[in-house]
């Protein structure tokens, strides 16, 4: 089932939680709502689920306006951030709940319910906790039970609110791979909220970046990472260095150094901000072919796939640079060494209105 929201507005008093948000989720898609806290992503999810009410706009399920559809008739499976497992019920009863509350004519038999629950427990690999109570489970286990409970009623849409938010880093990694695999098999239209860009990039088919009640950008992970439409998206999706500079003749002039910027064409000299990801620098021991910035190594962290280097440029800027282990060995970097920095690429640049 596809979901579409059109021109949604939602206010909490003076605060605009959602400001004219429109979005379409395709059938079978796994979509991430990404943004900092307070960006409106959870509000949007709850409105789609029917748990909250929007002040203006439309929510459409497969093209049908869902305004008059009650939560229980929407066929959404909602997984809460803190799981919201029924604390007085066993795992079995929790998962069976959605089946048990169905109207008598369509309610499955006890036998069917048992089969279904067992099947779901197998799916989440937790058959052995069937008789336990929620408080006897770990966070990761509760999370999976919550998912199984939502899946029991065969939802047409799966909505997950920060599904891995309160889990350990390790469990979180495992579960998100599991979610991806599960989605690849089930193809349920899934919308999940997260503030973790890594999680969104790794799991989602498409990412919706939200900020202050607005959608900043919608696109594939590759798209939003490599072609951010603005500085916010760029910042939110990973570490980035930025410089104040003047752009002229294909070069960025920082202080009195002119750096070559690949693929940049400027007609007139302009003041600009330049955003460069840590891996878009090239380091060399001597001044390279093009112009380069002289800097001093302040700190090196070689643990990890990439080597992180902190530099202080002559012009005063501090740079975070990532190079491969191979480059690191070739450069034989040590602390306090002078290096030359040039640009391989630039993520994003924007012009600044100069006062003068």
């Amino acid at each position: 089932m596809s979901i579409e929201v059109r021109n949604i507005h939602k206010n909490f008093g003076q605060f605009k939680a959602l400001n004219n948000v429109s979005l379409k989720v395709e059938n079978g898609e796994l979509l991430a709502l990404l943004g900092p806290s307070g960006s409106g992503k959870t509000s949007l999810l709850r409105i789609v689920a029917g748990l909250d009410f929007h002040d203006a706009g439309q929510v459409l399920f497969s093209g049908q306006d869902a305004r008059d559809q009650k939560v229980k008739d929407r066929g959404v499976g909602f997984v809460f951030q803190h799981y919201a497992l029924f604390r007085h019920m066993t795992v079995f009863e929790n998962i069976a709940f959605g089946l048990r509350v169905q109207p008598r004519p369509v309610r499955p038999s006890e036998q069917k319910i048992r089969e279904k629950v067992t099947e779901l427990l197998k799916l989440i690999q937790l058959e052995w906790v069937v008789d336990r109570y929620p408080w006897q489970l770990s966070g990761g286990q509760r999370q999976r039970i919550a998912l199984a409970r939502a899946l029991a009623v065969k939802p047409r849409v799966l909505l997950l609110d920060e599904p891995f938010g309160s889990l350990d880093a390790q469990v979180r990694k495992e579960l998100r791979l599991w979610l991806r695999r599960f989605h690849d098999e089930s193809h349920i239209t899934t919308l999940f909220v997260t503030h973790d860009q890594e999680e969104a990039l790794e799991v989602a088919d498409r990412i919706v970046v939200m900020n202050q009640g607005r959608i900043e950008q919608v696109g594939t992970p590759e798209d939003v990472y490599h072609n951010p439409v603005n500085a916010f998206v760029l910042n939110f999706l990973g570490n980035v260095n930025f410089f104040h500079c003047r752009l002229a003749e294909g070069k960025a002039i920082i202080g009195d150094t002119a750096l070559e910027v690949p693929g940049l064409s400027v007609d007139q000299p302009k003041a600009a901000k330049l955003y460069v990801r840590p891996n878009q620098f090239r380091l060399s021991r001597g001044p390279g072919k093009g112009t380069s910035l002289k800097a001093v190594v302040e700190f090196i962290n070689p643990a990890g796939t990439l080597v992180k280097v902190n530099l202080k440029a002559d012009t005063g800027e501090r740079l975070h640079v990532e190079i491969t282990q191979e480059e690191y060995r070739q450069l034989k970097l040590v602390k306090a060494m002078a290096v030359f920095v040039s640009l391989k690429d630039v993520s994003y640049s924007e012009y600044v209105q100069t006062a003068a």
Partner: protein
């Protein structure tokens, strides 16, 4: 040394002060009741309890509690649902209004019902014309009791419901449960210990109320005397052993109440230790 505790001397001193205060104010009165109740022996004790007036008073007290407590329970659940689950204007005002009867003197509580239902009161002539007895009869006693025990259940339930939030109910709704089913299958089980706890406290207070009931009772022996009033009557008849015997029933009730409460708390605590 542990940074969260005090030197042994101070600790002992504090325990000493607390227990001393406690002994003086709680334990001694408790012992006193039973001491006097049995001062004339078992036979007098049992005779006092088996007296028809005593039995009638117990019956009346039980009936009163049986009506007052369920009504306040229904109210408590409704009020806590509205207050804990929803966000509306005037919620704080409503909360303090619910607490109001706690700070109204029981004498005033009795008085207001006399002002309404008494023969000289607002509804008095009409009630008299239709031969409906409120004051000096069971309904008056029940009304006064309801008034003084009014907030007991609600006060227990509101914080419990608040602390639990709305997520479980929302989860139930997304799973296709109707509002009614959500309430019964999710909300009520979650507050069941709070409900029980509230009932127990409300009941203890309902059975023990003296001031308000005294004003509206009429003191007809064997008919409108509740157990606490019966205690007073016996006491005024110089039958102090019998008075304390009747009182001891109320004390026992209080103790049973407290034991039940402690058990409930233990159960709750076990449920929370994960």
């Amino acid at each position: 040394m542990n940074t969260r505790t005090e030197p042994v001397v101070i600790r002992r001193l504090f325990i000493g002060i607390a227990l001393g205060f406690f002994g003086l104010f709680i334990v001694l009165p408790l012992i006193c009741v039973f001491y006097h109740a049995f001062s004339k022996g078992w036979v007098v004790y049992l005779q006092a309890l088996a007296h028809p007036d005593a039995l009638a008073a117990m019956r009346l007290t039980v009936i009163t509690a049986l009506v007052a407590v369920p009504l306040n329970l229904v109210f408590g659940v409704a009020a806590s649902w509205a207050i804990a689950k929803f966000d509306f204007k005037g919620r704080d005002l409503l909360l303090s209004l619910i607490d109001l009867p706690l700070s109204v003197s029981p004498v005033i509580a009795g008085l207001i019902f006399v002002l309404i239902f008494g023969a000289q009161g607002a509804l008095g002539p009409w009630l008299r014309a239709h031969n409906i007895h409120v004051i000096f009869a069971l309904p008056g006693i029940i009304l006064a009791t309801i008034f003084v025990t009014f907030p007991m259940v609600a006060r227990e339930l509101i914080p419990v419901m608040r602390s639990q939030g709305n997520e479980e109910e929302e989860a139930a709704l997304t799973l296709g449960a109707s509002g009614w089913k959500t309430f019964w299958m999710v909300s009520v089980p979650n507050i069941r210990w709070g409900i029980l706890y509230g009932i127990i406290l409300c009941n203890a207070r309902a059975m023990g109320e003296f001031g308000a009931v005294s004003v509206v009772s009429g003191h007809i022996r064997g008919l409108t005397n509740t157990l606490p009033l019966h205690v007073e009557i016996l006491y005024n008849e110089y039958q102090s052993a019998a008075a304390f015997a009747a009182a001891s029933i109320l004390v026992l009730l209080a103790i049973v109440t407290l034991v039940a409460k402690t058990v409930i708390e233990a159960v709750i605590r076990r449920g929370h230790t994960a």
